[in-house]
Symmetry: C2
Amino acid sequence: MIEYNYRKLLANKYIPKAIEADKLDAYADKVAEADNDIALDRQANILGFYGLPEYDTSRIKYFIQKLPEKFDTMVVLGIGGSALGNKALYNALKTERELKKRLFVYDNVDPVFLHEILSAIDLERTIFNVITKSGTTAETMAGYMILMDILKRKFPEDYRQRMIITTDREKGFLRQVIQKEAYESFIVPDNVGGRFSVLTDVGLVSSAFVGMDIDALLLGAGQMRQRCSGLDLKENPAYMNGLLHYLYMREGKNISVMMPYSNSLYDFADWYRQLWAESLGKRYDRKNRQIYVGQTPVKALGTTDQHSQVQLYTEGPNDKVFTLMQVQRFQHDYQIPNLHPEREEVSYLGGKMLSELLNAECFATEIALTKAGRPSCMISLPEISERYLGQAIMMYEIQTVFTGKLLNINPLDQPGVEAGKIATYALMGKQGFDKEREEIETFKKL
Amino acid sequence: MIEYNYRKLLANKYIPKAIEADKLDAYADKVAEADNDIALDRQANILGFYGLPEYDTSRIKYFIQKLPEKFDTMVVLGIGGSALGNKALYNALKTERELKKRLFVYDNVDPVFLHEILSAIDLERTIFNVITKSGTTAETMAGYMILMDILKRKFPEDYRQRMIITTDREKGFLRQVIQKEAYESFIVPDNVGGRFSVLTDVGLVSSAFVGMDIDALLLGAGQMRQRCSGLDLKENPAYMNGLLHYLYMREGKNISVMMPYSNSLYDFADWYRQLWAESLGKRYDRKNRQIYVGQTPVKALGTTDQHSQVQLYTEGPNDKVFTLMQVQRFQHDYQIPNLHPEREEVSYLGGKMLSELLNAECFATEIALTKAGRPSCMISLPEISERYLGQAIMMYEIQTVFTGKLLNINPLDQPGVEAGKIATYALMGKQGFDKEREEIETFKKL
């Protein structure tokens, strides 16, 4: 099991003003209420991610198994929840496991980025996977039209075997395209929001393609769901971490830094960044006043950002809650040779493993943060594997929904994204947006 | 010249409470005082980055020119200011310019990351560049000892031609190694702090190696220095942006988001992240009270993060100042074919260039932020080139020092990094840290 250590989030001699352990009982009712809200949502079938450990992956595995061997590369076209989980899993395991197949995720409309991907792949050996529930996401559809056009020109005979589409089960324009052209397809389920969907077809197809054990991902997720099923906070890392973050948020700590000591886990922090920001960053009315809640997630990388951010983290405003992540065992490791045994500047490193230095620095940062009065918790993975990644994913998904309940907001919507979409439609000349185009003209004169 | 548009940082009908344009005159004295402080620092020769546009690059160019042709890859070993600028420049131009030589920057002690780099390079064709002013940076020295050992074993005859060392001109252990083993060497100057050093040998050697026009970088920097030399804020983007950020900081906006609409510029935002965080995140005493200042820089990517962070940015707490960056012309671009002319969901995209969609979304985000009452500015690069990157670097370096002066803190030190270094020494068993080791034992029991 991954370990979760919250002791440095609680009051101690260095952080006397922090939350005291024996004060947590006072929130038992609030915790029970949030837990009950979640149970009701699960009954109403709007928190489908809870059920994913039981998801039947046989169709995915069958599809991957019968895929022509020539395909050694997959390019996912997706953005946000249709991209971040895929990247997090692939980058966590690609080097650790020396995965033989490659994954690219084109999650932007940057032409230079597209050029980079097209230069890096062999089209003949590449299968594309378009992922969008609605089939209207501008970024994904732009990429789809460019790449489908390339495929049709280059492979007029069999372009249909070179693209798969992951979209709504029934609705939407892409489902019609699938039916008309007989593309292989997968499903973005109704009851799992985009940012919670990494353990559906959205994230599992690309993960299975590159050679991951997707059943182990689900197994891990199930283990964590089990661990987070009770009201005893000490035994429930998702609820404990959610409650503590909620309490710090109320105290004005508006930044949550996730700092893995592992390059492989940096994109996991990016996945968390969407989950936490989009779920909890919300506006609502109370007594004719607008209330804005949320906590800005920041990804940082140990040790790298010790030489970039730790000055601010320890001596700047005390406005952050920190999550350090460490890995206990790596598949690859290197011993530091004692190249200059006579020089005390470096001889202390001689003979040590690189991972030992990495984890010592993680502990050192925990000490430095605590001594500076900054609250932090530690997530420790025994190793980087599907099972532990599945556990971490489920923990954070539950924690996010739970924290949303504590905040009395809806953690599943994202109404604030609409304004930008509408402005884009207007700017790109889409029909029906004349009024918005006029407004933009006045905006230009501001 | 790069364009800097600050109009959306000022009060307008959507952000009535923002800073009003005609109130800026009230800060003329404060601006003049900060400017005078900078002039004194320049006379005292502690702001050497101002003089870098005149830096003589002939030695670097000569070195690159006489380097054996077989070297097609450079691996920089450095961290923080000895890594972030190198990455920012390389990733800005590598695809745009289709650079033929490769750069890797090993800026961590993660063994998996090292394994990844070693798997990707051909040692025979790789030259290493160790960058550390003191020669004691644990992370860099660990990498240096591992890789030097590998080179000595594999190339006992000519390993000295496969590593260059960039360090202090005279002092430090590595300078002695250079003298003893006759490595080619470059200089980290005394009067340019690490995070301001990208336009010294630190950043220029790797940039020249991969084929950049380093004189154009310095030319651009000189142009911006000239533009930022007067007290008229409207003509001085560094001072205007610094003052406005300072005023927002005082109002409690403790987060500065930099969001380039270009994957190539994402690492420029990471470079900015160190500059802004480490320079301004400071603690000082005032009347026996500890004061903590600083603003947490956050890197975001357009359009990608519209589907991850913009919900929070528009509806979460109004605690941020935004900097959007856009590129007017890309070397590579793609037209979106009108694949489904009958479907209004996507037909509006047909015939448009990808860059047009990208920049429309950038503008749409500016509109969405403004309508949500969130202040933002826009930096616009005519194209991604050495000259414009040099301009952007100099603008932000001047802005950072200027803002430090406004805050009455020293933007050039980083005392908060020491605690973690000392804890690492203690944990790794370095001599002379017994007391700290004892303290850590009590820490473990917290």
